[in-house]
Symmetry: C2
Subunit: 609 residues, 2 copies
């Protein structure tokens, strides 16, 4: 039943060698890798205006110059990442670039930031997608947290099925979004030119705004920098491209940046021209959609495709997180379970951890995109800064053609990213402070885990030859609670592995008659086996068992015998029935495992009915 359900949800297992086939064409790569960046159009402009409108509606015209600077940043960062593509064709994630050039500690800061960042990618994309839905269907607004969580779980399930299947059907929503958005911008501009849409801006460009300050402008602009999130995705995935890998990747990146730039400019301009103001009930993009298309089929298609591309963007996190966790686990900074071999090529533990993390973030921030964004931006721009600056070191080390120019490009990227981090901390501290708690905790955990694994490995390493030890025999203690088929089976097995078999029973004051009967019955059934009745006055099974086993273990060691304790347990037909059995054997096994010289063995009796 469970097996069947798992197959249905997760699909058949894939062979390891299947992995090589997952080669991306530019067409597919654009869909799969640019969704994160392109979808930020859904919230980027809104973030800028939301900061400005707090001062006054008149201040909103400053969104245009702020957007202009974001565009310049986009250009600079795209150039920097094209260089990373060429320098690290095997995939230049910030963790790898920072580790190789800056060393492990800095690499871990980048890695830790990215772990959090991917959770935020999922959380932000999903809550923003939910807002797209609730803008179109206001009735659903009160269920928005539930909707977000369901979407996360849905994407998680898809990812547990493996990446390739995701890829195929993910192209559709991305190209749908691109088509719809191009249509909206074109139709909007056409209507403006033909004067069918009236100029309705809240304030004329350049108009004086009382109270406007540079600080506020920087705050607005740094909030808008969230539009740049996701630009790095392509540089991480160079190995997945078809040959020539580097050129295809670099061209895809340029194309993506171009589309993003056009979208961002167009949306920001339209929102200004139409005088759209942010609202908690409806997204800016939705308001623009209504103004341009009217509330018809095209509007609903816009909202639907926005929600869909945001879901695909969330999916980006699901591709990236498990790979990063795998790399960190391989370097012994995260638990080995993230390298664990699941039934599929996807790294199930990473996928599940990411989904849990994203859901926790959604719950903490009440599913509100605007509260999540500044933290998200920090999680993005810290690794940006570290990998870009790492690239400068890379150029100084490698030199090569035009290396000074290359280093200057990455220097520009570094400065921009670094300034954004500074602005975010100074101007959005009330949303960004959790970063200062999460990062030290993560770094501490990385360090603890690492030193533990290193220590274990050194303990386990065989110094020279393996030291074989020949035991002269083996003692086996069988735990007996009453004389049943379980006892018979366990004693039979014990005699096959043991040279000296002892049956051990713990009795209590409560019912001396019954205890006496058990002893009698046992001796009749197994006259050859030594039966030990331990009396406990404390109603505790564990203490007397441990005490007795310790004595026998000592004797066995003196005789050069190995020592086994056989604990019988039930294997019921249905999983829920486990709660009705085995509580005592669970406890006993846990206690006995604390002894170095005792091997704990489980005799499983399978219930037939």
């Amino acid at each position: 039943m469970w097996h069947y359900l798992k197959r249905l949800l997760i699909g058949k297992p894939l062979k390891t060698t299947d992995e090589g086939n997952q080669q991306l064409t530019k067409f597919k790569a654009l869909a799969l890798l640019s969704s994160d960046a392109l979808s930020s159009v859904a919230y980027g402009t809104e973030q800028i205006t939301a900061v400005l409108v707090v001062l006054s509606a008149a201040a909103t015209w400053y969104a245009l110059p702020a957007a202009g600077i974001v565009l310049i940043l986009l250009f600079a960062i795209t150039l920097s990442y094209r260089q990373i593509i060429h320098a690290y064709p095997s995939g230049g994630g910030a963790y790898i670039v920072a580790t190789k050039n800056w060393g492990t500690p800095v690499g871990l800061v980048a890695g830790g930031s990215l772990l959090v960042d991917y959770m935020l990618t999922v959380a932000v994309s999903v809550t923003s997608g939910t807002e797209a839905i609730t803008s179109a269907i206001p009735y659903l607004r009160e269920h928005s947290i539930a909707i977000s969580i369901i979407i996360v779980l849905f994407i998680m399930t898809l990812n547990l099925r493996g990446m390739r299947e995701s890829a195929s059907f993910l192209t559709f929503p991305v190209y749908l979004f691109i088509t719809i958005l191009v249509s909206m911008l074109a139709w909007g501009l056409f209507n403006i030119v033909t004067n069918k849409i009236q100029y309705n801006a809240a304030a004329p460009i350049g108009g004086a705004v009382p109270g406007m300050s540079l600080i506020l402008f920087l705050k607005a602009f740094s909030a808008g920098s969230s539009s740049l999130t996701g630009v790095e995705a392509i540089s991480n995935a160079v190995p997945n491209f078809k040959k020539p890998k580097r050129r295809n990747a670099a061209n895809t990146l340029a194309l993506m940046a171009l589309i993003l730039g056009v979208f961002f400019t167009g949306v920001t301009f339209l929102s200004y021209y139409l005088g759209v103001l942010p609202s908690t009930k409806e997204t800016v993009l939705s308001q623009i959609g209504i103004a341009v298309f009217g509330k018809g089929i095209f509007y609903y298609l816009l909202q639907f495709s926005t929600a869909m591309i945001l879901a695909v963007a969330a999916n980006t996190g699901f591709s990236a997180f498990p790979i990063l966790a795998y790399n960190l686990a391989k370097d012994k900074f995260m638990p080995h379970m993230y390298m664990d071999k699941g039934d599929r090529l996807a790294y199930s533990n990473g996928i599940i951890s990411l989904a849990v993390g994203a859901i926790v973030l959604i719950l903490i921030f009440h599913g509100q995109t605007n509260l999540l964004i500044p933290l998200y931006a920090v999680g993005v721009f810290v690794p940006f800064t570290l990998s870009q600056s790492g690239m400068i070191i890379h150029w100084f080390r490698e030199k090569g053609k035009n290396w000074i120019l290359n280093a200057l490009v990455n220097l520009l990227g570094t400065i921009i990213s670094f300034l954004l981090v500074v602005f975010l901390f100074l101007l959005h501290f009330q949303n960004v402070w959790p970063y200062l708690i999460i990062m030290p905790v993560l770094l501490f955990a990385f360090q603890k885990i690492h030193s533990h694994y290193i220590m274990v490995a050194s303990q386990l390493r065989l110094s020279e030859e393996a030291t074989l030890h020949d035991y002269d025999g083996s003692t086996v203690i069988v735990l007996v609670s009453s004389v049943t088929h379980v006892t018979t089976g366990a004693i039979n097995y014990a005699r096959s592995i043991g040279d000296y078999v002892i049956a051990m029973h713990v009795s209590f004051d409560e019912n001396p008659k019954k205890e006496h009967e058990t002893a009698k019955e046992f001796k009749e059934s197994f006259p050859d086996v030594r039966f030990v009745d331990l009396h406990s006055s404390y109603r505790s099974v564990a203490t007397p068992v441990l005490r007795f086993c310790d004595v026998i273990a000592k004797n066995s060691a003196e005789k050069n015998y190995s020592m086994t304790v056989l604990v019988p347990q039930f294997v019921p037909r249905k999983p829920w029935q486990n709660i009705l059995h085995n509580q005592t054997s669970l406890r006993l096994r846990a206690v006995l495992n604390s002894r170095e010289n005792i091997i704990v063995s489980t005799y499983s009796y399978h219930l037939k009915k």
Copy 2:
């Protein structure tokens, strides 16, 4: 460390024979067993008035006749329970009385109701106690749910320490409450007689109230019946009394009913005379306290002792629930873990289950006493009805002196309890409906658990003689991931118990060179041991291991060998480190346990650092 903490919180283990010493004097028994009933003064009157005031303040005078009827019920139910004390001196809980006289199915309804009822006893007492605190210290009101949960956890800890210690210090708050309440009633009446307190009733007695109906009156009165909860406690605990047990118990019950009657009358009268109306911010008792004592030391003492006696009342549930769960588990209707022997005479699993249940109820009902009360009353009066009616059957069966009179007394008790259940369902359905869901679920669970245990017992029973089987030898498969000290230890042990030892390794495509090295290293270290390298293309360890073990198990069976799989695992120095290890061995053991002919043994390697 953990051990030390446990000792500190839970105390030393008690011997089983210590149990006999827990004999209660009347003085102590009154404190321990009447707190539930007496503490209902804190919310009983309020429940009546709260229903009436919804119509109008003028309707509140009907609280006086409603209280009168409650008093009559108190008298009748006390008589009925005195008879149960004499008929079932070994403890006449509703589960036992109903089972003995009505048969098992009805007994289970009573038992199930009581399980829920005890959780509600804890929840209602604790939330009501919290309201006593927040009435006096309004600042704490916004933390009331947290306060309630902390109190539950605190009482749980006390009970894990064992019942006797609880008993000693519990007498104090009960007698303190009795003293304070007697003082308040006396001082209030004195001031009324001397005209220092003015008549301030919201409506004159007998005044016409537009809209008043019999339905509303019955609704108010049935809400007030919550004052009768806890009256049964003494009849359940007859064996705990000093000799002559029956007489002492019956007299204690009579005394308790007298005190409860006086308190309930006095509080209801004062609340009417002072014109106190229920409020969400302050309890009725608190308002009376301020009116009588002024806001001084006596008032705060009243609130403090009210909170304390309610905590003691919650404790009643903690004494009763584990005993009921034990009885149900002994009769195979609840999991055996409720018969489990903890380190103490208390039944730890029952105590913890109760605390969890109460906390869940507090969270569901947002810590509001008035929402919990109708459900609580149903949980009380259903078992009342069943045990009282069971007593009628008892008298018809046993006959004896005055049996017709006795049967009539219990008939009266039955009718009253039954009518209250009917009223509660008809008039408070919006709070009572969960009962109709919980009970069928519980009854279904009881039945499933029972049939499972019966079936298991029949499977295990030895038909006649135990069938001994002599194996000719034993096969042991050792799982090897790499060649380390763990491998050496495991192989040494395997050779001591096995006649034929196989080392099994699973290799993957990823790193063929490393796999080859492992094989080479193993063969050098253990030239005598057969090394099998299983190749997995699916990155799955479980499937190839299971397939191979099945083949070997079949061969072993043919040779008449027993078959063991030895799974190595780490025992780290610190518990948190477990998350860094053993994920694969856990999974493998779970999978291998599904095979009937394979015994799974665990080789524990203890990390030194």
